[in-house]
Symmetry: C2
Subunit: 190 residues, 2 copies
């Protein structure tokens, strides 16, 4: 997706320690038209897979998941990191270490919205170490639903997440792949 | 918006203490097509106001804000409740008491994305006491931007938020207005 590649290359900021700031179009401000096109591209890559639901994690996963859900015309479920008062138990709970937060993050989802008959596409903004995505996949497994693939906006190849998720044996698609971040250069994979 | 009214009436659950559970289509699972139509309806109500940006609060505000941003073709900014590592200072910070969480919630926004020339439509999932929306409006004021209106999916009229926000002297639009919640009945305003 050339448009997103250009934005990452030109507007992405390397904050050091593997952290990429893309607050201008993903993590604080969102360009809805760009996000819609990203959702359409993810939908195109998973067309014919029989996806019945998109599953993501709050917070920054919501926009790309919603865009993919719009394009595939299926519901979106976002795992909660804190249990809101409206979330009635029982819930499925998993945890993942967060590189950017330096803590263990909980991810909760209700059995009401993840069902054994669901064919689930997991979507998130980033694929980095893969810890958050792996926790989402474990929630899918707890619900006895079928994982059909993983789609992200930006992959940081050098953090090894794709390798860590390879045993899942599902397609993993990223719209932009970053090979390396060196000082103020964001180097994309071919 | 008849479709959303029907869902609130038929699928909304009164959890007591003024708390409405709409996890099946707003707060945990989202229907992207319904959300798109809600965004189009909000856009219709604020057409001609020269909106340049949508401003909301994470988490559940993101979906309706993105839908409104899609329809109005303007960027969406979501205030952060916790400062991510990518959020570089200086930031604007406000706080609001949260009825459903029982604590004071921080709302942060970067001056990079709220500018004096912006004409801002504040969007959220709920208008209840109005505390969160008032904090978003204070952030708009800190940025010296212009507030052009407030749009929400669901208003809980009996919590008095509209009254609390009336001094702002901008249009406040809600797609569904709940007059009262009595046991398992959700009573909509006419």
């Amino acid at each position: 997706m050339e448009e997103l590649k250009r934005l990452v290359r030109e507007e992405g900021q390397n904050l050091g320690n593997g952290i990429l700031k893309v607050d201008g179009f993903i993590n604080h401000q969102i360009d809805p038209l760009l996000m819609r096109r990203a959702g359409e591209e993810l939908a195109r890559r998973f067309a014919g897979k029989g996806v019945t639901k998109i599953f993501t994690a709050e917070i920054s996963g919501i926009a790309p998941a919603l865009a993919a859900g719009l394009a595939l015309e299926v519901p979106v479920v976002f795992a909660r990191k804190r249990k809101p008062v409206t979330m009635t138990e029982p819930v499925y709970v998993e945890s993942a270490p967060s590189h950017t937060k330096g803590v263990e993050v909980l991810l909760m989802a209700s059995p009401e919205y993840l069902k054994p008959e669901d064919r689930i596409l997991v979507v998130d903004d980033f694929l980095a170490s893969g810890h958050t995505l792996a926790a989402l996949v474990r929630l899918v497994e707890k619900a006895h639903a079928t994982l059909v693939g993983i789609g992200v906006l930006i992959e940081k190849e050098f953090e090894g997440g794709r390798e860590a998720l390879s045993t899942l044996d599902v397609p993993i698609e990223s719209l932009v792949t970053i090979a390396a971040m060196e000082d103020d250069r964001i180097i994309l994979a071919e």
